[in-house]
């Protein structure tokens, strides 16, 4: 005995009402008749039928409606008197089946256009400002010292690309929507009717692409993160997505009333990110800490012939991107510390920008010229005790602090040791 019921995971947006109705009619011709929404479209097996469906957008519906509200049933009463049997409703969608061949249209073309445009407007307009804001923040993060921190990480470089693509898509979608709306209004004024499906409506046709493009960018971003070894940074986003999917399924399956649905979603909007953040922190803290010995460090006080006592803590980080690479190292001893950063790039403008940023810091404004000591293009020993050295394809920043807690100037022999350990320009 074959299946009597099946659930299909298919969704349509408000601008594809006619496609939705056509889909239900095609299913009815195949013997599957729409019964209700419940975590998908539920169909019951029956005789093939040439049924006529109508999917309308009820203006008084709410995005939080998972089932018909009282006013939806009232509206359905009038539709029934006009020859349409009400089947089910979700959000602002109402699904009807024609029961009389002389059934009157439920909405006039103008009413249909108004209700669909009003229902869709929020979804199209609302993302624009947040996306623009995030794109702006991402771009601004590359100003000042943020440039040095981000230019050598493909993951961080892709951030602005991601948000700019989201913002551009949202903007283009918005403009297209308003242009289409004006055209549609003119058509209705002239006595025509707008087709709300891909085949008759340029905006409906392109609308899904506006969603796919950012998704595609997101997939590329994930690939870049994974290739960069930063795939773990996507863990919070992945956890959020899983929670959101589980919550959506539960809401669709159990169909709480609009008020309960709204409370659930608002509470989740606060609680889930906190939960995900907590889990992420626990995950990170549970990772075995890398114990770095002096053997792991590219440069040590011992190598410089300095007696600074035992190594207390160290930090070593190397990143690379299409623009070059960065190596940052810091070693703290009982009596002193050593801090160095090496930036490598074959693009002069990148190193110029880093050099300018460093030279604009107040602590680096005054200093001694030590170009000859380092055999560099330019080298400065600032009054803050930091060496800033520029080679054609490298920038080196190094600070050495001795037992008295004062920055120590390096001897020519120590400079040679540093260059051998850190610089490719020897």
């Amino acid at each position: 005995m074959g299946r009597q019921k099946k659930t299909v995971l298919k969704s349509f947006d408000y601008l594809r009402c006619d496609d939705f109705a056509a889909y239900l009619e095609a299913m009815a011709r195949a013997g599957w008749h729409f019964r209700e929404w419940r975590a998908g479209l539920v169909f019951e097996k029956g005789q093939p039928e040439d049924a006529v469906y109508r999917v309308e957008v009820f203006p008084e519906g709410s995005e939080f409606d998972t089932r018909p509200a009282v006013n939806t049933y009232e509206f359905a009463e009038y539709c029934e008197a006009a020859g349409w049997k009400f089947l089910d409703a979700k959000r602002k969608f109402c699904i009807f089946k024609r029961v009389r061949p002389d059934a009157q249209p439920i909405l006039t073309p103008q009413e249909r256009l108004d209700s669909i445009v009003n229902a869709s407007r929020g979804q199209i307009l609302h993302p624009v400002i947040p996306y623009l804001f995030c794109a702006l923040i991402q771009c601004l993060s590359f100003t000042g010292s943020g440039f040095t921190n981000r230019i050598f990480s493909n993951t961080l470089l892709f951030g602005p690309i991601l948000w700019i693509s989201f913002a551009l898509c949202a903007l283009v979608r918005c403009v297209h929507f308003f242009l289409w709306k004006r055209q549609a209004a003119k058509l209705v004024e002239q006595g025509g009717a707008v087709a709300f499906g891909r085949s008759g409506n340029s905006f409906s046709r392109l609308n899904s692409w506006y969603a796919w493009l950012p998704l595609g960018t997101l997939v590329i971003y994930g690939t870049v993160c994974a290739a960069d070894g930063a795939g773990w940074t996507l863990t919070p986003a992945a956890l959020l997505l899983i929670f959101a999917l589980v919550l959506s399924y539960c809401i669709a399956r159990f169909r709480p009333d609009a008020q309960t649905n709204q409370i659930l979603q608002l509470a989740s909007g606060f609680l889930i990110p906190v939960l995900v953040l907590g889990l992420s922190v626990c995950f990170i803290l549970a990772q075995p800490q890398d114990v770095q010995t002096t053997a792991d460090l590219p440069l040590t006080c011992e190598a410089l012939g300095m007696d600074a006592g035992a190594l207390e803590s160290s930090y070593l980080d190397g990143t690379s991107s299409v623009f070059g690479s960065a190596l940052r190292c810091r070693a703290s001893y009982e009596e002193g510390y050593l801090s160095c950063s090496v930036y490598r790039s074959d693009r002069a403008w990148v190193l110029d920008k880093i050099w300018q940023t460093e030279m604009q810091r107040p602590r680096n404004q005054a200093g001694d010229n030590v170009t000859a000591l380092w055999e560099a293009e330019t080298a400065i020993y600032s009054t803050s005790g930091q060496y800033l050295v520029r080679y054609p394809e490298e920038v080196l920043l190094i600070t050495v602090c001795g037992p008295q807690g004062e920055e120590t100037a390096l001897t020519p022999q120590q400079v040679s040791v540093v260059r051998a350990a850190l610089c490719e320009s020897r």
Binding site: E56, Y78, A82, Q104, I106, E111
Partner: protein, 102 residues
């Protein structure tokens, strides 16, 4: 010159109010309008639902009974005044046009 709300009634509005000069259940209004206009004017469920809500909000009609989802309405004195004004306006249009068009 700004138009006051509901200053001039459209045909569907006029016939709905005409239908509600007698208490009528909301779902029967569509049929009443067809009868009153001799089949010339039809009011769809979407139009009817929106207009009944608007009329009730502005005090032109009032709810008289509610049985489950079925509601009955009747025109109010304010609504009757509006309807009569519209009737007089239409009669004036006809009488002004008669010497030229009749």
């Amino acid at each position: 010159m700004a138009r006051e709300p509901l200053q001039t009634l459209t045909e569907p509005m006029y016939y709905i109010l005409l239908a509600l000069t007698r208490e009528c259940c909301g779902v029967d209004i569509m049929e009443r309008v067809r009868e009153l206009s001799h089949g010339r004017v039809t009011v769809g469920p979407g139009t009817l639902y929106a207009m009944l809500a608007r009329f009730e909000e502005t005090g032109i009609i009032r709810l008289t009974a509610s049985q489950g989802r079925r509601k009955s309405y009747v025109i109010t004195p304010q609504g009757m005044e509006l309807l009569k004004k519209e009737f007089d306006r239409l009669r004036t249009l006809v009488s002004d046009g008669s010497p030229y068009l009749a």
